[in-house]
Symmetry: C2
Subunit: 787 residues, 2 copies
């Protein structure tokens, strides 16, 4: 996960919408991702209705994947033999238009106006086009698209055409197309995985008057997928509607002659479903039923439901920023995309790109738990709970993998769709065992945020026991009695296969401790999992004895054993074009030197602040700032949090902006392959945890807010154990308001407060004066704060 | 490189020959390798003349390779994109026989007698068969095959047929066959690489009366290869000889009717040549010319030359063992195969399997320098010099690779044929930088053994400067002033990417020191390479400051930084079928625990005895014995040497036998893919360096001999700085004899001796009493010494 320099942006700055006021063909890949609509089950990239031009056409269904072989120049025991790739399923977005024999194609004729707007309150993508065909026929096309957050299987498009000056004969072809031809994959970039050609094998095609259904199976993975469409057509009286279907294409054709002032309006309802088990008739009927319900609701009804869902969401989730309009917009977009990724995933994984692109093969990694779930646990707790239920559902595979690796408990896959390990490079895959503690920590945080003890007992306990067992068998006590975890890889992918990675050991420690605590709280459920007092004691003992290396000479924590003895990367002689380093430098050289791709020890400080003194935190932060190059989009948000905590408020602001703008400004140069969901989520974390100073556990929530000088006001909300809370910060004071729910206690800069009907306001202590910290040559974040 | 349990053997025990008295179809793969003939330029597996049955048909030409893609599930910068594989070239061994319409095939009819004999004094493989066809025709076939050590491009086969009881019509088809169909490669075993299908593209085919020529080019690598044959036929007067050629097959057909008592004798002369640059006519003419010379010499002349070459070789090289006939035979076979691998390689690499099989893709690794060249420097110094000249010839590629890796100097490939890095797994490839120091040490040893200062200046210096520069840039001084080499892999492939591997650091230290020393000795040549006094000083400084970690608690050297803090492998719960571990356990688990595949720290003690006190050597040996599983055939010989040095003479004897018998007894279960040349060479090292206690450097040679109780007498010879020396050891005394050359000095158990015309005899001090050492559960070598 890498970052590249800034680029221009095709969008205006507005608080609640992302508007592209004119078509940016060169940014098509980026706009397709930013404009992607998803409910976590269906994802549709912001492709044009007419299909072309495009960068990457994409329609995705959560967990609908195809298998692909994983080849090795030299194999090894336990290497996964096949991987899983998200596939572009039957495309229902397609609506082609013929104007008097001329296909409506923006690359020809004259484009007079082209605007697209993503409305984050409406949950829609609208488009307005005025186009003159090469033969001189002017038309206006207006479309509005949504992927329903309330009807999980449904998407809908309202498509309107008018002729401008002269009458014209219009032919609209609204389609379902399977096995769309995709652009060739970019080779040489390990981040961009190969798309698969023609993965869908036709099983059924059927059309009726104004719609059709296509059912396919994936070639290797054998998953059955159905797509259906239906249309409402409003046009002049003699408008003709017919439909046809072949194996890979279904088409509803609308023909009409339109005069100026007349309008052709087509509402296209789309329904998707897939199953690994259900029969062809069952899957077929399922999509037809969903379609019937959607048509019954109507487009306006769906739009109303969508807005209501989002109104409810934003009432808690909205973050207001005063003093930086671009950041205001970016933060809302970030929250919106995190919601889209998780809202209706419902016991399916939340991928690193959500359902906005095919980057990373559509896989889910540790960052879902570490970055996205914190947001969802506070803003959409059901989605967070379901994501963890998905982890529970793949425990049988994780137990198998642990056994194959010679370990107890469960070893969750580093990257996967369905649950099997799909990583083809074990030093940065299998060896990154921290994912197991990250999942455990997401459980802990979710239970703390929601107070949901049923979840803790029914879902959390099993995950905690399985991961605690893993750690207990992965580590060992050395002769001095310390518990070591050797030969693993931490979050920083520029260092691998090391002993006692501080992040891993601290997170494993928490995992072990918390597993013992939860098992003690649910003794009968724990006993059913075979947990006894001896095992719980062995977890506590290992946690207590956990080795946390410390470099007494430098007064900092080495990222892992011996790290600070390594040579420091020669940053001065590394020109900008060498970044991201993984593209231009061999791993062997990165691994052996002090150069950090992404927050690792700093992330340990974010997630385990209790394990560091304020002095250690300050020294560690300064030390790692100087060697962290942020070649990963998972870094800036974490650096923002710890920068804020250590008093580097301007720097925190710069990092926050970098995290927030990664996709709006295509900072990593790869937004075309999908949104950086973890960076989006990190944006929220940076505001709430960083500037808000929010920390929480089962026993309470506390804030230690401090704003960067450039911002006048920040307001954010969250759910907390059945309450809805809003925090509004200015430079001088913080206001805590209980929007709903029973009275509660919290802490403001260590001062205990009771909160009931009335908001409570407290002054914010002024920030300490701190020594500036330095980044590697050329790698400082773009300065956003006034000099 | 792995070892598996003992298996039966098809051979008798005889001092100078390896005889298979009856056909062992089940051991065909093994016998093909053991019976392989090679001169280092041409290699022919011991396939039957009639081609079938076979395990792996194989005819190889040194450095004639084909490119093949190296695939990666997840790629990375600097990963080699294509590999190189030795290919089975045009097979000239084929002589098919038809007996009255029945093809001579051992799988049909009745086999009355079948004997094959490899004669290590004659340098020939002979075969005698008596066979009754299914139709009842009895024949006797006698063949004698050689790959000429004196005429590098030539092989020859004398093929004789007699009929036993009744006359028969015989048709002999003597062939050249390109693109032979090969058995499918064993998948799932990373040691066995895929063979390539139809790699040869026909360029020319031509036949004359009694012979033919085929010229091909390799499909991807574009190398031109020519094979030609000619025949002398002696038979009854009406014997008819015709020849024909098509693109991939050339055939000389001999038809005769034989009566009992008559004999058909065919001498087949074969000539091979290849070039990456020479034109078709040039390569064609080259093989025809070689063929003419061979025919001029005649089969008997070639046989006489062969024997004279070997008489001369054995006069120095022979090792005599009294008290273990099996070992006697094995040691001669070992020396013979090391000679065959290197004799006429002539500035081409010596592969891990020589030219006896397709194992490891025919690649050359570090073990050529570390195991094979020590033998050749003492027994066939020209071959050793040429192997190092080959390294010099690929320096341009090694400079390029270093640059790609961001390093100064040269980075030699971990595995290659032509010189490009072909390793597809960098943690056990690129990271194993020690190969560069191993090459430097081979230079040092060769110069010490030969006293060849021209070689030192012309070849050695450039190699030393290039490798010293590599080390200087790979390592760095830490804040305490120590010179560290981080993130590398040592010889033990069960540990990777570690800091300060003791073996690597000690060998790099020697490399740096010796480079400075040789540069000082040849200042003008060094200056031409850009070496100045400052650079030489920086090498000496780095060598002096080299960090050698030591575990003061345990009183042993950790194999690398922190190694002794790792968990010890659970040997008690590792059943025998789990070995070799790399086939049954993931790397991540091997890397993080104390389990040693092959001598690493112990090899450091063998090659740098000056760096260890006798007490350290004893403690280290005992410590590493307990965790070394010998899953590599590169281990036993080294353990034999250090066992002998530390007084474990019985154990040394057990290890020596394991190294010596690896192929004769197929101990690793993979002799079918070729001979273990390094283990063969290690056998000689174990005798001479282990029991002989031989150490040498530029300034002199010393011995500290001690025999294991089971052996009555060992005699070995070597060349030493222009002299031929023979050492004969009994339990009580050592005799040193100068066979030729000027008087010299040597040391016997630290006592200085002068040696001239008369042999000198000295008593051998009795061995110290030592504590026994232990191996991991189930991994002790087979006990050979009397209980």
């Amino acid at each position: 996960m890498t970052a590249a320099p800034d680029s221009g942006r095709p969008f205006t700055v507005e608080p609640w919408v992302v508007r592209e006021p004119a078509l940016h063909l060169e940014a098509m890949g980026q706009t397709e991702s930013v404009f992607a609509l998803s409910n976590g089950h269906i994802g549709m990239r912001g492709n044009l209705e007419e299909g072309e031009p495009h960068a990457i056409p994409g329609t995705y269904l959560n967990s609908l994947y195809e298998r692909r072989p994983l080849p090795y120049a030299e194999g090894g025991y336990g290497y996964p033999e096949s991987g899983q790739t998200i596939i572009n399923v039957t495309n229902g977005k397609l609506i082609r238009l013929l104007v008097d024999d001329e296909p409506f194609d923006l690359r020809y004729g004259q484009l007079r106006r082209h605007e697209r707007v993503l409305d984050m309150q409406a949950g829609t993508l609208t488009r307005e086009v005025e186009w003159m065909s090469p033969a001189g026929r002017g038309i206006r096309v207006r479309s509005e698209r949504m992927v329903s957050l309330t009807q999980r299987a449904i998407a809908a498009i309202c498509y309107e055409v008018e002729v401008l000056d002269e009458p014209a004969l219009l032919v609209v072809q609204s389609e379902l197309v399977a096995n769309e031809q995709l652009p060739p994959a970019d080779d040489g970039d390990p981040r961009v995985e190969a798309a698969l050609a023609e993965p869908l094998v036709a099983e059924l095609h059927r059309s009726d008057e104004a719609g059709a259904t296509l059912v396919h199976q994936t070639r290797q993975s054998g998953l059955r997928v159905a797509a259906a469409m239906d249309h409402e057509v409003h046009g002049p009286a003699d408008t003709k509607v017919t439909s046809e279907a072949t194996e890979d294409i279904a088409r509803t054709t609308v023909i009409t002659r339109l005069k100026p002032g007349e309008k052709l309006r087509i509402v296209k309802y789309l329904s998707y479903g897939w199953s690994s088990r259900r029969s062809l008739p069952a899957v077929h009927d399922q999509v037809r039923a969903a379609l019937a319900a959607a048509r019954f609701t109507g487009f306006d009804g769906l739009a109303k439901e969508q807005r209501a869902y989002l109104d409810d969401f934003w009432s808690t989730a909205d973050v207001e920023i005063e003093g930086d309009a671009e950041l205001q917009q970016a933060i809302r977009l970030a929250i919106f995309h995190v919601l889209q990724a998780g809202a209706r995933a419902e016991r399916r994984p939340i991928g690193a790109k959500g359902l906005t692109g095919n980057g990373y093969d559509g896989h889910t990694f540790w960052d879902t738990e570490t970055f996205a779930l914190p947001v969802l646990s506070y803003l959409a707790p059901d989605a967070a709970a379901d994501a963890l239920r998905w982890r529970q559902s793949i425990l049988p595979l994780a137990y198998e993998r642990a056994e194959q690796l010679g370990l107890a408990g469960a070893a969750f896959p580093w990257r996967t769709i369905r649950g099997q390990e799909c990583s083809g490079y074990w030093p940065a895959g299998t060896a990154a065992f921290h994912i197991n503690a990250d999942i455990a920590d997401a459980v802990r945080r979710h239970v703390a945020a929601t107070g949901d003890t049923d979840f803790e007992r029914e879902v959390g306990l099993e995950l905690l026991v399985a991961t605690a067992r893993l750690w207990r068998s992965l580590g060992h006590h050395d002769s001095s009695g310390e518990f070591r975890i050797d030969g693993v890889t931490g979050p920083d992918e520029y260092t691998a296969i090391v002993d006692n990675n501080v992040y891993t050991n601290l997170m494993a420690q928490l995992n072990l401790r918390y597993a013992a605590e939860v098992a003690a709280r649910h003794p009968r459920s724990a006993a059913r999992l075979g947990v006894n007092a001896e095992e719980m004691a062995s977890w506590r003992d290992a946690a207590t004895a956990m080795r946390i290396p410390y470099d007494t000479n430098l007064g900092v924590h080495p990222q892992s054993e011996g790290f600070t003895d390594h040579q420091v990367w020669d940053f001065e002689n590394t020109p900008p074009e060498k970044y991201p380093l993984l593209m231009n430098v061999p791993y062997y050289d990165l691994y052996r030197k002090q150069v950090v791709k992404q927050a690792d020890l700093v992330l340990a400080m974010q997630l385990r602040p209790d394990a560091f003194t304020p002095e250690q935190m300050a020294r560690n932060f300064a030390y790692y700032e100087a060697i962290t190059v942020r070649d990963s989009s998972l870094s800036a948000a974490t650096q923002a949090v710890v920068a804020a905590w250590t008093g580097h408020l301007d720097l925190a602001y710069d990092y926050l902006a970098e995290a927030a703008l990664v996709d709006l400004n295509d900072l990593a140069g790869n937004t075309d392959h999908g949104m950086h969901i973890a960076s989006m989520a990190g944006t929220w974390n940076a505001v709430v945890s960083g500037f808000g100073g929010m920390r929480s556990d089962r026993d309470g929530i506390s804030f230690a807010p401090r704003l960067p000088p450039a911002l006048g006001r920040i307001s954010f909300g969250l759910n907390w154990q059945g309450r809805q809370l809003r925090v509004t910060l200015s430079q001088e004071e913080a206001e805590y308001r209980l929007v709903s729910g029973p009275p509660m206690r919290l802490r403001h800069h260590d001062e205990p407060l009771a909160l009931a009907d009335e908001p409570v306001t407290r002054p914010i202590p002024s920030a300490p004066v701190v020594e500036p910290v330095e980044q590697p040559y050329g790698r400082a974040p773009r300065q956003r704060h006034p000099g």
